[in-house]
């Protein structure tokens, strides 16, 4: 089946097998390997991408369901080589150790801040309930997101 979508601002028309997940489409077809895969069951959050601004687990979402939609992956955040404020805040707060979960956390943070530009610390914790970091870096991640919200809406 041929899908028409816009990925990180770029129109994409691609024939794909209907059985493909969104993760297979962005990673294997488009080469956007910033989206990671881990649990494969919507529990860990590393594969989070935005579809029409809404967060989805690319591992468990059919690629055909982005037909007619806009997709944003982690590669779509930086603007002409300069980091998005959320990315910059993650760097400044050392909000990562191994970095594998980071794209998912940043995409969830993007979704949260789009919906709620000045979340409380508790809002951040609640929203990230479905994201797992196994290097135990949650506090710096929360700090980074709160800081990013202040940078983005001073």
């Amino acid at each position: 089946m041929t899908i028409r979508t816009v990925v990180n601002g770029r129109p994409v028309t691609e024939p794909i097998p209907v059985r493909w997940t969104l993760a297979e489409f962005v990673r294997d077809r488009l080469g956007l390997t910033g989206t990671k895969l881990s649990c494969g069951m919507q529990v860990c959050g590393v594969c989070t991408v935005l579809v029409d601004g809404r967060p989805v687990s690319a591992c468990s979402y059919l690629a055909v369901d982005v037909d007619g939609c806009e997709v944003t992956t982690i590669e779509g955040l930086a603007d002409a080589g300069s980091l998005h404020p959320i990315q910059a805040a993650f760097v400044d707060h050392f909000a990562l150790q191994c970095g594998f979960c980071t794209p998912g956390f940043i995409m969830m943070a993007k979704s949260l801040l789009d919906e709620n530009p000045r979340p409380t610390r508790k809002d951040v914790v609640d929203y990230l309930d479905g994201n797992i970091c196994r290097c135990t870096g949650y506090q710096p991640i929360i700090d980074a997101i709160v800081d990013a919200s202040e940078r983005m809406t001073p």
Partner: protein, 271 residues
């Protein structure tokens, strides 16, 4: 190498088209929140998937005949933020906004949750407590039944092969109060307790529905507005058939259930 087995895709635009297609081998989906995981695990290998998102009759929420009617394609997030629900069923959004995580809430539906009949569903006990019904449509007609009757066992419902769960009706009862509390340390709750108080003629009923701890929800009605919390907790735990699993042993679940029944009733008293 693809993670999902091959299947065909249908994109119908009417219930009539869906019920022509639907079978145990041709499964409806919206987000695929539960279905794709089952396919990936090799538990289901359908010939085709039927995308319900293009069926306009079941994509919305509306007031209908003293109830709120939630179409099969309505996601948890959509329902939780729909005006008619905030207005007429204010007790529902807080429950829906604690289902799974934001990604699950954006793609998963209430109807899908019911059809999957996961014993750890948050939605099922609360919908039972609210006396919700489902309407099953087939090419031969339609039938309505309570959610309580619909959920037969773990992953097992009253839906037959050629039926579509088209919508859920939740009666709007003025003055009804309801709450849902769950205890959860991992992805799924150890126990979820729905507590609802409603006036029925001259009397007031307090209803407690316990999910997650056992295979099917336990429903306990008390003919009193302010029942003795400890007595209710004891009666509910007596009726409970908890199973040992990753969220706790059966003894542990009995203990946590008693605590959460009392807390839910205490919260209800303040509402």
């Amino acid at each position: 190498m693809s993670v999902l087995p091959p299947f065909e895709l249908h994109r119908p635009t009417s219930i009539e088209e869906v019920v022509e297609l639907i079978s145990w081998d041709d499964l409806p989906y919206v987000g695929g929140t539960e279905l794709l995981l089952a396919m990936r695990a090799g538990l289901l290998n359908p010939r085709s998937l039927i995308d319900l998102k293009g069926v306009a009759e079941i994509t919305g929420v509306r007031a209908h005949n003293g109830a709120v009617r939630i179409g099969a394609a309505v996601t948890h997030q959509q329902a939780a933020t729909t005006e008619v629900i905030s207005e007429k069923l204010p007790e529902l959004p807080p429950v829906l906004l604690h289902v799974g995580n934001p990604r699950v809430r954006w793609s998963g539906t209430l109807a899908g949750n019911l059809c999957f009949a996961e014993p750890k569903s948050d939605v099922i006990p609360f919908l039972i407590a609210l006396d919700a019904t489902v309407t099953l449509v087939s090419a031969d007609g339609s039938r309505e039944m309570s959610v309580r009757e619909f959920i037969i066992g773990p992953y097992f419902t009253a839906r037959t092969e050629h039926e579509l769960l088209a919508w859920i009706d939740i009666p709007v009862v003025p003055g009804r109060r309801g709450t849902y509390l769950k205890y959860q340390v991992m992805e799924r709750p150890t126990v979820g307790v729905a507590a609802v108080r409603l006036d029925e003629g001259d009397s007031t009923i307090t209803r407690v529905v316990v999910g997650a701890a056992g295979e099917v929800p336990v429903v306990h009605d008390v003919d009193h507005a302010h029942p003795d919390r400890s007595a209710v907790a004891t009666a509910v735990v007596d009726a409970l058939e908890p199973i040992d699993d990753l969220t706790g042993s059966s003894d542990y679940k009995r203990h946590v259930t008693a605590v959460y029944v009392e807390r839910a009733l205490e919260k209800l008293e303040r509402m």
